[in-house]
Amino acid sequence: MAGESGGYAAPDDLGALRALLDANPGAAILAGGQSLLPSLRGKASPLFVDIGRIAALKTIEIEDNRLRVGAGVTLAALARHPATAGGFAEAIGFVGNVTIRNRATVGGCLAWADPRGELPLVLLALGGTVVTDRREIAMESFITGPSRTALEPGEVIVAAAFETGRKFAVEELLVRNSTGRAVVAAACERVGDAMRYTISGLVDRPVRSGPIAGDPGPWLDDLLLQFPVLADASSPDYRRRVVHALALRARERA
């Protein structure tokens, strides 16, 4: 019932977090709260386990040419890091607005798995990895549908990792109107003579192509046959054309 609260806990380290989650199977990890809290409006709230005090989740480290970003790092902090300069930071700049980016976290964005989310798009474009307390999951197989991931119950995202120094260009169109929001985006990375595209907002998850030498249009048509189309405020036909146009524009700049 509205207003009923399951309580609040804020563990200081991953061990305490694990213990809390094991003892309370219905608990919800609270990161930036920007998706979780609006989704609970008018509903009973679970036990919130706030991960904001866990220092181990807030680090950004470079190991060789791999950047490892703690799950509790905010999008704003990530976009300020020199290793994300360029397309990466540009894409994050499209997320919500500055107050959202100041709170939304890397782990929250991945766990929420919005099929239009910018962070999943760029991590996929870079062939990144989701690091959990149990394993590493390649971004390719992490998002399995709209708001669905490969995470198991109780599994905690601790970091995201990706190769640094790779360049890509990203284009996005945000359409807000009075039947909802539509966001389509395309990233393009040069691989030798060909291009590799990553797109979101068309089908039920972000997808990355193999190297494509010519027009990415046929690949997009194939996607519509392979995956369920994402239900959105605008028609699939429109989004198919727009994502194509954005992919070509990204190609110009890649």
Partner: protein, 757 residues
């Protein structure tokens, strides 16, 4: 500092508001406040078979649960519009047998805390029998449509005509060219930043006090005491604190205001109701919502001959307080703008639907009228191969033709419309357009230009306004005015007016508003009226104060005194006395209540010209407003900075309606746009990069300031100029609002296919 009329001091209210020291209704928090929540209908149309409140009453912290029976002795919320033959649709504070829109109130729960009230509201069990609904004009007018009111079986509540039907028909039949359009004015939600709230307090000695976000306490007081509570006026006091946006919606009385008053009297403790955003989307009065068929007739030279309009005004489920007036008395008489049109006929049908009541929203009928005629003219120019500026210049009334009676009951008094048009075209670099279009096309974009010449009726039906000025012991001159700022900055602009007239520094003047215990009369703020009427009342007060001061100064300084620069002076000597000294020597003697009055309605006609240029990206349908220029005639500007701010905000709302905003109900009358996740309002990046604004005033001769009102003008001009520009970018293809990217993308694709074929 001495700031007078025509200067731009910063807003004196901003320090308070920007540092969180404003006091909005929800900030009033008396000891022991209880909280109310309305139980609302989840159906667009349903019969109430029963309401079971037993579980809710038994919940912890619950103080009372009211249903229609408990409050049957109160009057319904009145519709105040005297249209001949209009069928009434009474709206009680709570609905007894039939709910008519999603959000219609059926019970009111009061509890110790907000959370307890909310929980108990969920426990109220209402047994509904769903009825077929009519959520749109088409559905309500279809043969066999469900009747929303027994008294109006065909869902029509009035039929209003103005103008000369025969002459109009004859002129159209004989014309060299007739342009016809069907125009849809989308329904919009006003989305004030501060949602509605109300707090009622009871005292055995003085009765009831209502604190409420309003656009004028006196009108709220009158309707509540006379029509709802039916109590002697002195048993009710209405207070308004700071108001975070009104745009019309806060003029009106909503059921919760009567309900908290009832609960406070019944429970003998303060009771507060604060709406949530979802309450606002469901139950704040909506705006616009009208469909029109229009025809404009021209002779072979391009002179306008006649204008015929037939409109269907969607009133919502209940006819709101001013609802039926919007497309008729408010906007219906200005349908032809300030053009020379010998024959006009306007026919409006009032239609009820299973939706939230529709009432005044920034401009209230005048944006609809301007939008219609400006879309028609632009289309006529394209169809007859004329320049859109030339066609308007040919038909705009010239100064030597004024005053001009428009045949619909309005007489345009002063203005220089052709000169404003030319000034706007120059400001917009009209002749540089082809080069800008070519440059945009070279970048793969479509580029269009749109023009709109608008006219407003400000302070339409008013006859008076009041000011009450007191000289306080600390030297402050405190002036209460019967209007109500909702964010416009009255504390600044009124202080400029009074300070200038009294010759005192502006910071010596303090403007107060919003308390019937301080000033029980006043017409409130709406229809861009405040400066004309409230300013007039302050000037009236200032003259009386100076006369009184001269009388007093004669006893103090001698027979021969005059007044200037804030000083009374014995003529021919150096002996002077300031207004403050005089006031201190004669406590209360200078205090003045003034009424500024006219014998008949004397509206002003703010007018001006907007020019928009837009880029449309054919691959995505995205619109960007590339250039925006305006020349306005608001008469005398009291504070040009505040005026420009009003214009910018107005443009945001007009552009929002043109590009984004749309209230959508589905077939069963469910509201699909019930939150900001679904309802798009403009953001900073939707606005033009810059707005070139100029004022070219022709002062109004009928009020002492020469002002004309500026609050709604930006909205009125923005919709048609932006839409005309989009249509121009699409080679004349008709588009209705909101012009969403997908719609525009489809049109671009079709045009490209046609061009290739």
């Amino acid at each position: 500092m001495k700031f007078g009329v025509g200067q731009s001091p910063r807003r004196v209210e901003d320090e308070r508001l920007l540092t969180g020291r404003g006091r909005y209704t929800d900030d009033f928090q008396p000891e022991g406040t209880a909280y109310g929540v309305t139980v609302r209908s989840p159906y667009g149309h349903a019969r109430i078979l029963g309401i079971d409140t037993a579980d809710a009453r038994a919940m912890p912290g619950v103080l009372a649960v009211y249903t229609a029976e408990d409050i049957a002795h109160y009057g319904p919320i009145p519709c105040l519009v005297p249209l001949p033959g209009r069928i009434e649709t009474y709206r009680a504070l709570l609905t007894k047998d039939i709910v008519r829109f999603v959000g219609d109130g059926v019970a009111f729960v009061v509890a110790e805390t907000r959370a307890a009230a909310r929980a108990a509201a969920e426990a109220v069990v209402v047994d509904y029998e769903e009825l077929p609904a009519a959520a749109t004009l088409d559905a309500a007018l279809a043969p066999g449509a469900p009747a929303i009111w027994e008294s109006a079986p065909d869902n029509r509540t009035f039929d209003w005509h103005i103008g000369d039907e025969n002459a109009t028909r004859a002129a159209i039949a004989a014309a060299a060219h007739v342009t016809r359009l069907r125009i849809v004015q989308n329904r919009v939600a006003p989305t004030s930043m501060e949602v509605r709230a109300a707090l009622a307090e009871w005292s055995d000695d003085t009765g009831l006090t209502l604190t409420v976000g309003s656009q004028g306490v006196a009108a709220m007081h009158k309707t509540l005491s006379r029509e709802i509570l039916k109590c002697p006026p002195e048993r009710l006091r209405v207070v308004t604190g700071d108001v975070g946006g009104g745009f019309g919606l806060k003029v009106f009385l909503y059921p919760e205001y009567g309900l908290v008053l009832h609960a406070a009297e019944h429970l003998k403790r303060p009771v507060k109701w604060t709406g949530e955003r979802s309450d606002a989307f469901q139950t704040d009065s909506h705006g616009r919502a009208v469909v029109s068929e229009a025809a404009l007739a021209l002779d072979a030279e391009g002179n306008f001959l006649a204008l015929a309009v037939e409109s269907w005004s969607d009133l919502g489920a209940y006819q709101a307080q001013f609802g039926p007036a919007i497309q008729t008395m408010a906007g219906g008489r200005i349908i032809g703008g300030v053009y020379r049109i010998p024959a006009i006929h306007n026919h409006v049908h009032g239609v009820v639907t299973n939706t939230a009541p529709v009432d005044a929203y920034r401009g209230a009928g005048r944006p609809e009228a301007t939008y219609l005629v400006e879309r028609l003219i632009e289309t006529a120019a394209r169809e007859t191969g004329r320049d859109a500026g030339d066609l308007r210049r040919r038909n705009l009334l010239r100064p030597d033709e004024l005053p001009h009676a428009n045949g619909l009951g309005l007489t345009f008094d002063v203005g220089n419309f052709p000169a404003l048009l030319d000034a706007a075209l120059e400001k917009a670099d009209w002749t540089g357009f082809p080069a800008r279009r070519a440059a945009a096309e070279a970048r793969g974009l479509r580029y269009g230009r749109g023009l709109a010449y608008y006219v407003e009726i400000a302070g339409g039906g008013d006859l008076d306004e009041f000011a009450d000025v007191r000289f306080l012991a600390d030297g402050t001159i405190e002036a209460a005015v019967g209007t109500q700022s909702n964010g416009q900055g009255h504390e600044t602009s009124y202080a400029q007016v009074l300070a200038e007239r009294l010759g005192v520094p502006m910071d010596q003047v303090r403007i107060v508003q919003g308390d019937t215990a301080r000033l029980e009369v006043g017409r409130g703020t709406g229809g861009s009226r405040s400066m004309v009427w409230g300013g007039g009342a302050l000037i009236e007060a200032a003259s009386t104060i100076i006369e009184k001061g001269l009388d007093l100064a004669r006893t103090d300084l001698g027979e021969d005194v005059d007044f200037g620069d804030g000083l009374f002076r014995a003529r021919g000597t150096n002996t002077t006395m300031s207004l403050a000294e005089l006031a201190a020597r004669h406590p209360q003697a200078l205090d003045t209540r003034a009424r500024y009055a006219k014998e008949k309605p004397t509206p002003t006609f703010p007018n001006g010209c907007h020019v928009a240029e837009v880029e449309v990206d054919p691959e995505t349908g995205r619109v960007r407003v590339a250039r925006y220029s305006i020349v306005d005639d608001f008469g005398t500007l009291v504070n040009p900075l505040l005026v420009e701010g009003q214009v910018h905000g107005g443009i945001a709302q007009g552009l929002g309606q043109a590009l984004l905003e749309n209230v959508v109900y589905d077939e069963s009358a469910q509201l699909l746009t019930g939150s900001f996740m679904d309802y798009g309002i403009p953001r900073a990046d939707d606005m033009p990069r810059s707005i070139a604004f100029a004022s070219r005033p022709v002062p109004n001769p009928n009020n002492p300031l020469g002002a004309k009102g500026c609050g709604e003008a930006g909205t009125i001009g923005a919709m048609p100029s932006v839409m005309n520009a989009i249509v121009d970018a699409l080679e004349g293809t008709h588009v209705d609002m909101p012009a969403t990217p997908e719609t525009l993308w489809r049109i671009c694709r079709d045009l490209a296919e046609k061009a290739a074929a």
